[in-house]
């Protein structure tokens, strides 16, 4: 693929903190190589802003290889931008045409207060994990790999659910800003595996309660989350989460209350 140079007009959301009203600012991104990643393009724009003594556009990132879940912004109305199954750090500028206007917005959700510009505080997702997204194990040396056999089909399913990197794009894309896909992926991943059985009775209940307490909306089965998810996490896990929740409500659990062991 041959390199081309693009000139783009960016409309970037600038916001100084959770209580600032925020506004769009227009910046030129000139001479951008189609080989660059989207975040490298923003680096170029930021260098220019810094040289001109202006404050650079704040955005989250870490691995820049699509695995850590740090990055994320809404590009032209689509979470993580136009390429399917791709985080914005792995999005390349060849997806854009010369002269394009590009609108950049943060994840917008009451559960994700804006820290600055395109950076949002996603610790709500961490609190959902803290509410039940763990297993109790004895620490120490690693156990023998084949000690606990798991059927291949189950292991594959658990891996599919475990692909979630916690980026929050599902919340950003959902018309109700619901965190159902994220929560469902975590509940499903653990409930499928033998290691996750000890806390299974409580997990769905405590994690769903935390998800609701964070102010996320409910699921209305539109499927926007699945379409936006960079890891292809499937709606089937939301159906499983619902089953897990009803199960944990109707089964009596004898003394396996989380936090009591």
């Amino acid at each position: 693929m041959s390199e081309e140079l693009l000139n783009l007009t960016l409309h970037v959301w600038r916001q100084d903190g959770p209580n600032d009203a925020g506004r769009f600012e227009t910046h030129q991104a000139n001479g951008i190589s189609t080989h660059m990643s989207f975040l490298e393009m923003l680096d170029v724009v930021n260098e220019d802003l810094i040289e001109r003594d202006k404050s650079p556009i704040a955005f989250d990132h870490d691995c820049r290889e699509g695995i850590c879940g740090s990055c994320g912004m809404v590009v032209n109305g689509v979470a993580h931008g136009p390429q399917k199954l791709t985080t914005v750090c792995q999005l390349h500028m060849r997806q854009f045409d010369d002269g394009h206007e590009v609108w950049l917005e943060p994840w917008r959700a009451s559960g994700f207060p804006v820290v600055k510009d395109l950076v949002v505080d996603r610790s709500a997702l961490d609190r959902i994990i803290q509410a039940g997204g763990y297993i109790s194990i004895r620490t120490g040396s690693a156990s023998e790999a084949n000690e606990m056999p798991i059927a291949k089909a189950i292991a594959d399913q658990a891996m599919d659910a475990a692909e979630c990197i916690g980026c929050g794009a599902c919340v950003a894309a959902c018309p109700n800003a619901s965190a159902s896909l994220f929560t469902a992926a975590k509940i499903s991943h653990l409930s499928l595996l033998p290691q996750g059985q000890a806390e299974r009775q409580d997990r769905a209940r405590t994690m769903v309660a935390q998800m609701d307490a964070e102010g996320f909306g409910g699921c209305t089965n539109h499927g926007e989350c699945e379409a936006a998810c960079p890891k292809g996490v499937s709606l089937q896990w939301i159906a499983r989460m619902n089953r897990e929740l009803v199960r944990s409500m109707v089964r009596s659990d004898s003394g396996t209350k989380s936090g009591r062991r």
Partner: protein, 215 residues
């Protein structure tokens, strides 16, 4: 019971209530449609069928109470989820592109209230304030010969079709029926059921308007 109450306090529990109450209403809508097919068998058949239902007092009132309960639960949960979901976005996107949703899903909060208004009108029209009490066939035919009244029924049933399509699909997902092997058929099943009920219901006012069914 404690657990069931707690379940209803979660967003998912409210969805389960919506799905179950919705499915009760769907069951009624199917039965209602099949019974109304008596219209095509003539005046005597429809009037006899109506009198039979009237004479089964406990069944009639049992069904009415169940439906009232289902409608109440459905609407209360819808309102509670709606007010929550309105707040969850915070600030609005300047640009937003839909990727997966469809017309029926996006308009549930329009088709639902339209249905509610329609159901109230329908009950007033045929059940509470009928033109000729006891003469069901005559009320239906004379009613639908008025294009305005027929229009209300046609509008109401188009709303029903859209609401049912997303509703049936959504209820399957909400209640946890989701498996890669039969997921492809969930949409088809929702289309088939909602289309059958809607087209069937639409046929009644249209047949009268077109003069196929007369007094």
């Amino acid at each position: 019971m404690q657990r069931a109450l707690t379940l209803h306090q979660t967003t998912i529990g409210k969805k389960v209530v919506m799905a179950l109450s919705g499915l009760i209403i769907v069951g009624f809508v199917i039965g209602h449609f099949l019974g109304n097919l008596n219209l095509y068998r003539g005046q005597e058949a429809l009037d006899d069928y109506a009198h039979l239902l009237q004479s089964l007092t406990p069944v009639l009132w049992g069904t009415r109470l169940l439906l009232l309960f289902a409608f109440g639960a459905h609407i209360v949960s819808a309102f509670s989820l709606w007010s929550r979901n309105m707040k969850a976005r915070g600030s609005r996107y300047k640009k937003h592109q839909d990727m997966a949703t469809d017309y029926a899903a996006r308009t549930m909060y329009w088709s639902g209230p339209i249905l509610l208004l329609f159901v109230v009108y329908h009950l007033l029209h045929f059940t509470i304030l009928p033109e000729h009490p006891g003469e069901v066939y005559r009320n239906v035919v004379e009613g639908f010969q008025n294009p305005w009244i027929a229009g209300v029924y046609i509008t109401g049933n188009i709303a029903l079709g859209f609401h049912l399509f997303h509703g049936i699909f959504s209820a399957a997902q909400t209640l946890g029926a989701n498996h890669p092997r039969y997921n492809a058929y969930r949409r088809d099943a929702a289309i088939a059921i909602s289309a059958a009920i809607t087209l069937g219901n639409l046929s009644f006012p249209i047949s009268v308007l077109a003069g196929f069914v007369t007094l």
